[in-house]
Subunit: 95 residues, 7 copies
């Protein structure tokens, strides 16, 4: 991995729908704003508050997460697609 | 349960209208923005303030809660529907 | 009473116009945004500030209050109508 | 007086134009947003800051004040008209 | 002077264009939002911060100031026109 | 110089395009929002934070600065044109 | 280098698409808001918080960074094009 997201940004690899089903999570197809499952591949050090405190993100590399479908910015690294999200776009960790 | 909501997010199971009536709560059908009853199934650790303080949510797993009808994001876990809400979408605990 | 409002939310029972008149308060019928009188039936513990301080509401159960007419969310408990307000929707305590 | 405004709200009795002239203050009739003169009849304890500090209002009962004409909410107490303002709607104390 | 502006409000007497020219300041007539010159006649004690600190205004009674032309609220005191500004509407002190 | 900008305001003298070229900086003519070069002639003491702290501006009198073209308010002092900017309108110091 | 960006501003040299490919990063051509790669050439000292704390940027001169395509302001220094960004426009450091 060659990318270090800044502040409270998180880089994720979106998981294919097939893998999602294997993990036991099925996302509803009628919801307008469907969350998607992804694996965290890089985590920023966290936002820096006005007091100079670094607020570390709750997610870690390797976590499976749900995030809002239209969140983030697409990038390609070594020919693979990734998304850069803000931590706040991530709804939950799935275990 | 396999889902850990982040920050001040709460996962709930929406209760059917029938169960609601049994609990003695009847929601008005004329109100435009009707609250719904649900049971809390997972609670985030709480939002982290600028001082680095974690503000724990007031609700706990098992609480029956009222929330604004169009709040949250629908997900399916093991073929059952759930909602991910922000704690601020929850109006009250019903006992 | 079976409802515990969260944070700075307040549950009130709206008082009928007749009762209002008996209390000596007459609300003007020309004002566009007329305040209404209500009795407080449940009070949240208060909002939690960024420092983790709980800011307790000024109103108490039993207080008669004035609030902006179109504020809040209607609910029914045991076949009676109530409103869930934010404390900031309450203008004054009437004694 | 039977009304206790909440937080930084102020109850005032609007002074008639005639009284205003006697006090030496004449408000311009060409200005679009004309301030009006009023007497303070009740004062909230003040807003509560995030640190839990109560910020007491600068105005006191009996003060003559200028406020923006279309500010506030009209109420009637014992058949007299009053206004509930936010302290920030009050521009100045007139002495 | 009979007026005490609240918080960070400032009462000024607008200076006529003629006086302005004498002071060596000529305001451009092509600018859309032209600043005007005025003399400060009353100063609020300053805004009160969330920590309860009073932030005293930088301007003093007698200061000549430039302010944005359409700022403030017009009032008349003893038949003379004044403006009530927020301190933030004042751009600079002219000496 | 007879002008003392308030808070975080900065008075600048816009430099003619010819001078800019001499300094080695050429501004692109295709950009929609082109920055301009100017010399700082007066600096406010800085904004006052909620804690009562004065945050002194980074720029000093005599600095050459780049700022967003349509920022600020034009004034004339002793027949010369100046601009009053907020410090945040200034992008960089050029040396 | 003759430019010192203020506060949390960052000056970058945009890298040509050819160089980007060499570094192993390929940006997707279907994304609406494509990030671009650039090299940091100057870094502001950081934003100053309300407490007077300087929050130093995470990026350093020489870092390769990804940023949102339409961010920032174009400038020319010694006939070369640069961009002035806010640190928050920078998504990640690429190594």
């Amino acid at each position: 991995m060659k990318i270090h997201p800044l502040a409270d940004r998180i880089v994720v690899k979106v998981l294919e729908a097939e893998e999602v089903t294997k993990g036991g999570i099925v996302l509803p197809d009628t919801a307008k704003e469907k969350p998607q499952e992804a694996e965290v591949v890089a985590v920023g050090k966290g936002r820096v508050s006005d007091e100079g405190k670094v607020i570390a993100p709750e997610v870690k590399v390797g976590d499976k997460v749900l995030f809002g479908k239209y969140s983030g910015t697409e990038i390609k690294i070594d020919a693979e697609d990734y998304l850069i999200l803000k931590e706040d776009d991530i709804l939950a960790i799935v275990k």
